[in-house]
Structure formats: structure tokens, C-alpha cells
């Protein structure tokens, strides 16, 4: 018999097996075809109600999940903390239990606190999909990143060298990417100022590099991360200008390389800081492909998890 996902919730890449990851990626191929057809909607989840609970700002991820849910014909409710009773002091558990009382069966949650998705999965009776929990994980981003790399280069992740460049310390995208890429057998390097690279990150099997030139020369794909000023309490580097000079990805740096590399960025972009417009808008950049593939990946995740109900 066909086998599905080994998990009931999607909390992080860490909990997924290699087979789970491959299944999500291959299912997303079909969904990408589907959303490029004249009729994009399929009826698979028509009897399912999904809540998008966003306790932290988001444009791409929320819209991407919302579109994925609509294209699978699910009923959806959207919820954001700023316009709700959370601002009156209601707890997370009470808020979510109220949603479940209204017969919501699946919850897509983004929350500023690491571990909140895991906490929810242990305490409420609904399927939980983590859409980013603080600095912990952002599993669907890592899945769509891997999908986009393979889609563009037509090579398997296991044959690739990927450099993750920027604010590694505060990035849930970096952690999920490292887990996923290492599970699939890729070589991974992290690059950034020493203050923004967590201690002992080598124990995850990644190479640490502080020279952006060397990192770019080494890799096939560079995943450039945003400087997360909202999560930085201390001054990790002297100024944004200095960061851009030392670590910003620009055309001059790319022109010096011996081979062309693929450039990715999970968005939102700080143009002129971690990446320059001449790179972000160049033919080597797959930033908008990542956004397109995000819908297909999220459709695959929702579809496969719904099959586990």
C-alpha cells in the first residue's frame, strides 16, 4: 500500500524523515502543474476548515498558505493577533481552543516564540502546521527552497553545495534549511559576521566561513538571508552600511566568480543591505520562483497532512 507522511503535524524539518521530505517535494511537482493550468482549484480538501493564525507579521507566507488552501477548496478563517482578543490578554491556548470549538480542524500558525507550534501540537486537538516559530524553524520555507533549487538547476540537492549567507543567528529559515539540506545529503556552508553565527553550529555538519567572497566561490547556490533588525537587541555589527560593504551580495562580487551561481532570498528583501538590486533582479536570481513554488509546496503539505487525519 502507498505510504504517506510519518508525522501528523508539521512542526519542523527535524521531525521529518528523508522519505517524508521526498514525498512532499514530489507531490509539489504535481501541484505546480495544477496551479499552472487554466483551472487551478481542486476539490480535495472541500470538507476541511483551516485557520491561519498569525501572531507575527507576514505577507508572503500568509498569502501563500491562504492561496494554497483556497486552491485545495478548504474553508479558511484568518486570524491575526493585532486585530483580536490576544491584545486583551487572552492566552494562546484559549485562543486556539476557541478556533477549534468552531470546528477548525487544521491550524497554520506563525508565532514569535520558538517552540509554540510544538506546544500547541501537544495541547490541542487539531493538526498544526508551523509557519515560523520565532528563531526556531520555518519548515515550508526550507521545503520550497529545496524545491526551487532543484527546479532551477535540474540537479538533486544531494549533488549541490549551498551557502547560507547573512543573519544565521536569528534565522528560522537558516535552521530549517540546514536540517533539510543535510538530511538530503547536500554540502552546506554558513557565512556571516562572527557575531551573527551561533556558537557550535558546526555540530550540525555545516562549514563556517566569514569571507563572503570565499563562500560565493565555493557554492552552487547562495541563499541570502535578511538582516532581522527586529530580533536584534544588541549591536551585532557597526552599521548597515558596513554590513552591506562586507557581506552584501552585489554584481561586482558575482562577476569575479569563475562560474555563475543561483541566488535565493526568502524575502522580504532589504535592497542595498544583504543584496543589491542588480543581483536580486538578475537572471541568476530565483526569488520570485521561490514565491511561486511556495504555493505548490504548501498545497502538498496541506494535502498530505489532511490524508493523515
Amino acid at each position: 500500500m502507498e505510504t504517506g507522511l510519518s508525522v501528523r503535524h508539521l512542526i519542523g524539518i527535524k521531525d521529518l524523515s528523508v522519505d517524508d521530505i521526498r514525498l512532499i517535494l514530489s507531490t509539489a511537482v504535481r501541484f505546480k502543474e495544477q496551479i499552472n493550468q487554466p483551472m487551478k482549484r481542486v476539490p480535495s480538501l472541500r470538507d476541511l476548515t483551516i485557520a491561519n493564525a498569525f501572531f507575527e507579521n507576514s505577507t508572503r507566507t500568509r498569502l501563500s498558505f491562504e492561496l494554497a488552501e483556497k486552491r485545495l477548496s478548504a474553508d479558511i478563517v484568518n486570524f491575526s493577533s493585532s486585530s483580536s482578543s490576544v491584545s486583551k490578554g487572552e492566552t494562546l491556548l484559549d485562543t486556539i481552543n476557541n478556533l477549534i470549538a468552531m470546528k477548525v480542524e487544521m491550524i497554520v500558525m506563525r508565532h514569535p516564540y520558538p517552540g509554540s507550534a510544538y506546544f500547541l501540537s501537544k495541547n490541542v486537538n487539531a493538526q498544526i502546521i508551523n509557519a515560523g516559530d520565532g528563531t526556531h524553524e520555518h519548515p515550508t520555507q526550507a521545503l520550497l527552497d529545496a524545491f526551487s533549487m532543484m527546479d532551477r538547476t535540474k540537479r538533486d540537492v544531494s549533488e549541490m553545495k549551498i551557502a547560507i549567507i547573512g543573519d544565521i543567528m536569528h534565522s528560522r529559515v537558516a535552521l530549517s534549511n540546514i536540517f533539510l539540506l543535510k538530511k538530503l545529503g547536500a554540502e552546506v556552508m554558513v557565512c556571516g559576521p562572527a557575531t551573527l553565527i551561533p556558537k557550535h553550529i558546526e555540530s550540525l555538519g555545516v562549514i563556517v566561513e566569514h569571507s563572503v567572497e570565499k563562500a560565493l566561490e565555493w557554492c552552487d547556490v547562495a541563499n541570502v538571508l535578511r538582516i532581522q533588525l527586529e530580533r536584534q537587541e544588541a549591536g551585532y555589527f557597526p552599521s548597515l552600511r558596513e554590513y552591506a560593504l562586507a557581506f552584501g551580495i552585489n554584481k561586482t562580487r558575482l562577476n569575479k566568480l569563475t562560474k555563475p551561481i543561483t541566488i535565493m532570498h526568502p524575502g522580504p528583501i532589504n535592497r542595498g543591505v544583504e543584496i543589491n538590486s542588480d543581483v536580486a533582479d538578475s537572471e541568476h536570481s530565483i526569488i520570485l520562483e521561490q514565491v511561486e513554488n511556495g504555493v505548490a509546496i504548501r498545497m502538498a503539505v496541506l494535502y498530505l497532512l489532511a490524508g493523515r487525519m
Partner: protein
């Protein structure tokens, strides 16, 4: 493994496919405005076999051909025991105003064909849709769906299964009636 009786194989199997091809040619001529679509997962082997034969008979005409996956339109997604993993799809033809011939190996309850028709409409509005099956399990329909072209009709019990084996799938061309 359950017991099985071979109900079609060898020369008879081949003659049946030829007969189906000529029946199609009778109605669709040179396939100017017609296309064959195999339903995933098992209907594509029959569709490929028919297309090959038709291309030989009608040479140099190439019969338009597609493979359709019906997984996302099935009505048992939440009640099915295991997960429904989608198959690949090959739909590089224009469906709008075409005469479409759906091809599947076995027709049983009719539910796959219903899902297939919904999946097909995602690509446009065909002029007509016909159904060709190699094996028709008569008296088993749960929906008002009947085939236009039939390779073989069999009266079966619900506990039995019909399996069509294909050389292209590494088996020997044959139809089995399997009893638990």
C-alpha cells in the same frame, strides 16, 4: 497471493486491442479533432498500446495523446485507508472543442471516470467525451457511467478483483480475475 484465472491473454489480447483501434477509427477517422487520454495510474498502459497501434495503422498520422491524473478529484480522499499519492500527468494537448476518448483498463464502480471527467474539465471544455475500457465489470456501477468501447465484459463478485498486466510494466499482456 490470491488465486487468479487468466481471462484474456496472448493472441486474443492482441486481437482485442486491434478491434478497439478499428472501432475508434470508424468513429474518429484520422483523429483530426480527436485525442486519446489515458487515466493514471493503470489506464496509461492501454492508452499507450492503442496509440502505438493507431500510429502504425494510420501512419504517418500521430494520434494526439495525454495522460491524466485524477487523484485530486477523487471522492474518497478523506475516507480512503491510506493516503492518495498523486501520479504524474502529461497533458500537452488542447482539450477545448476536442473529441476526447478516455482510456482506462478496468471499469468498475464508475467513480474514477467521474473524477477523471472533473479533472479533464480543468483543462477546458471538450466537444465530447467517450470512454474506452479493456474490461467492463458489468452490473457493478455506482454512478450512471457506461463505456462506448469495450474490450471484454465480465460479470464479477465484489470480493473479486480484475487486474490487467502489461508488457510495458514488466509483466505479460493478460487480464486476471482474482478471487480472495
Amino acid at each position: 497471493m490470491p488465486e487468479h484465472n487468466t481471462i484474456l491473454s496472448g493472441k486474443k489480447f492482441s486481437i482485442t486491442l486491434d478491434r478497439l483501434c478499428y472501432q475508434l477509427i470508424e468513429n474518429h477517422g484520422k483523429f483530426i479533432n480527436s485525442a486519446i487520454i489515458g487515466l493514471q495510474p493503470r489506464g496509461i498502459y492501454l492508452a499507450q498500446a492503442l496509440q502505438q497501434r493507431l500510429n502504425t495503422i494510420l501512419a504517418p498520422i500521430k494520434v494526439p495523446y495525454g495522460e491524466l491524473d485524477t487523484t485530486f478529484h477523487r471522492d474518497d480522499f478523506r475516507t480512503h485507508k491510506g493516503p492518495l499519492i498523486p501520479s504524474s500527468q502529461k497533458m500537452e494537448l488542447v482539450v477545448e472543442n476536442k473529441n476526447i476518448i478516455f482510456v482506462d483498463d478496468v471499469l468498475y464502480t464508475g467513480r474514477s471516470i467521474r473524477a477523471g471527467m472533473d479533472a479533464l474539465l480543468d483543462f477546458g471544455r471538450p466537444a465530447s467525451v467517450e470512454l474506452l475500457v479493456l474490461v467492463d465489470r458489468i452490473y457493478s456501477r455506482q454512478l450512471p457511467i457506461e463505456p462506448n468501447y469495450i474490450g471484454l465484459q465480465v460479470d464479477t463478485r465484489a470480493s473479486q478483483k480484475v487486474k490487467v498486466n502489461w508488457k510495458a510494466a514488466g509483466e505479460e499482456d493478460s487480464v486476471w480475475l482474482m478471487t480472495e
